[in-house]
Amino acid sequence: ELSEKLDGVLSRFRQRGLLTEPMIREGLREIRRVLLEADVHYQLTRHFLAKVEQRALGEKVLKSVAPGQQIVKIVHDELVSLLGEKREGLKTAPVGPTVILLAGLQGSGKTTTAAKLAKRLAREGKSPLLAALDVYRPAAIDQLEALGRQINVPVVADREERDVAKLAVRALEQAKAGRHRTLILDTAGRLQIDEELMDELRRVKAAVQPTEVLLVVDAMIGQEAVRIAEGFHQALGLTGVILTKMDGDARGGAALSVRGATGVPIKFIGIGERPDGLDVFDPYRMADRILQ
């Protein structure tokens, strides 16, 4: 476990008193490796550790706590604070249906997450409507419709319409007509460098003014997490992130990268394929996982 490993590393420093600079630097070298292996972005790691070093310098070595453990505690606290200490729920529109737009790379888990959000919102009495805006992927509409049936939430779709912004507008009209308090828009996966498809998302946003624009990110993503999050954030103005497939053993350093690079809060994590597999994001548990 990390603090024991650090104590091993620091065991050659037998000083009392302050955590000395060489001690801290040695400890942070080990922490750097841990963060990089957890897929935290290399640049963010550097900034983060500089901050930790600042905090650690001048801290008295606690008699009751081994220095390795103390350094880990400082790192853990800083991680939690960076990941966002307060829980951020979904916003509600002041008037009219709350529109939630889901976006992200191919295969990140958007369609499955749309169903999970719908199930959660249905249970909260927010009468959700799901809308299928993926006009490209084979059987994408079938997938969302099947999920809708599973959770007893209506799905609006049109297999003939190729204009995604039009689909979004019609879905919003449908949501109003059906007195739905929430509309969840599932979109096609896309690369943040695909100008045409990013423009499509911009047009959808302009057409229906979503209350929430959520980036769906696979927890196993590597260093590219920063560039992807920045790309989507610059194009759309994200209001939240959902980190999926957290039921696996991916360390999820992307959480730090995405939050650090964009400041956007991580609101939920996906923890399974079924519609009940959605948890509120917990920064303490995330920090534990990254540092394991």
Binding site: L36, L105, Q106, P138, Q143, L147, Q150, I193, M220, G248
Partner: protein, 281 residues
């Protein structure tokens, strides 16, 4: 980004960052940077371009097998040839199968696709569309059916319909889900009993945007099944897929194919030279 000028204080650090940013991971990065540092001390690497060339040579040494490793293995005897496609959720298995079917058809094969994902919503429909697009036969059952039974029936159907290649799609599953990994091992066993030498390829699909978790995926999938090849999908993204170097070193499984887009033609055999060049740009 390394500037292609001379070497200065920051050159090694910039090289390290370039490698980390490309998902090479810590051990491989450290080794490559040490190697370049040695060469630099010996006066054998004088410019940053020399640095990049040295790294490229090291990458090629790891990645290039004997060239014929990227070719797919077909049935020697009666067949049909069976390819089993596996991997974690959302990496591109079903899409890759569609592309592979299209490619094999153009090479003169008659392909049959087996809808072994009997769990996920829309999975069978999705594969059926790809079969139509690729001009392949299709065998699917009801959602909830036993994937091993689908594989078994698909092989019978292939023999009946004269298809010489069967590609089995499987549900995405996390390598940490023991019961699902056992289900996959059962499909593998059933196929092996049904056809001599099958599955002729067990292809593990990896998403190029994946970070260090790819190591865990390859480790556990190859512990449960004999993985004969890796497919690196979504290489058209901004991710570099540098993790394949660590994978080749640790597991020795060749990358056979790369996916470069969502279209049916966007599949190519893995080219180590091209990869070594592009991963550093």
């Amino acid at each position: 980004v390394l500037i292609r000028g001379g070497v200065d204080e920051g050159s090694l650090e910039r090289l390290e960052e370039l490698l980390l940013a490309s998902d090479f991971g810590v051990p491989v990065t450290m080794r490559l940077v040490d190697r370049v540092e040695d060469l630099s001390r010996q006066g054998k690497a004088r410019t940053e371009q020399d640095f990049l060339d040295a790294v490229e040579r090291e990458l090629l040494a790891v990645l290039r097998g004997d060239g014929k490793e990227t070719s797919l293995r077909f049935a020697a005897g009666e067949g049909p040839t069976v390819f089993l496609v596996v991997g974690v959720n959302g990496v591109g298995k079903t899409t890759t199968i569609g592309k592979l079917a299209h490619w094999l058809k153009h090479q003169g094969h008659r392909v049959l696709l087996a809808a072994g994902d009997t769990f996920r919503a829309g999975a069978i429909d999705q594969l059926r569309v790809w079969a139509e697009r690729a001009g392949a036969e299709f065998v699917g059952a009801q959602p909830g059916a036993d994937p091993a039974a689908v594989a078994f029936d698909a092989i019978d159907a292939a023999r009946a319909r004269g298809a010489d290649v069967v590609i089995i799609d499987t549900a995405g599953r996390l390598h940490t889900q023991g019961d699902l990994m056992a289900e996959l091992a059962k499909v593998h066993r059933v196929v092996a009993k049904k056809v001599e030498g099958a599955p002729h390829e067990t292809l593990l699909v990896l998403d190029a945007t994946t970070g260090q978790n790819a190591v865990s995926q390859v480790r556990i999938f190859s512990e449960m099944l004999q993985v004969t090849g890796l497919v690196l999908s979504k290489l058209d993204s901004t991710a570099k897929g540098g993790i394949v170097v660590a994978l080749k070193e640790q597991f020795g499984i060749p990358v056979k194919l790369v996916g470069t887009g969502e279209g049916i033609e966007e599949l190519a055999p893995f080219d180590a030279e091209q990869f070594a060049k592009e991963v550093l740009t």
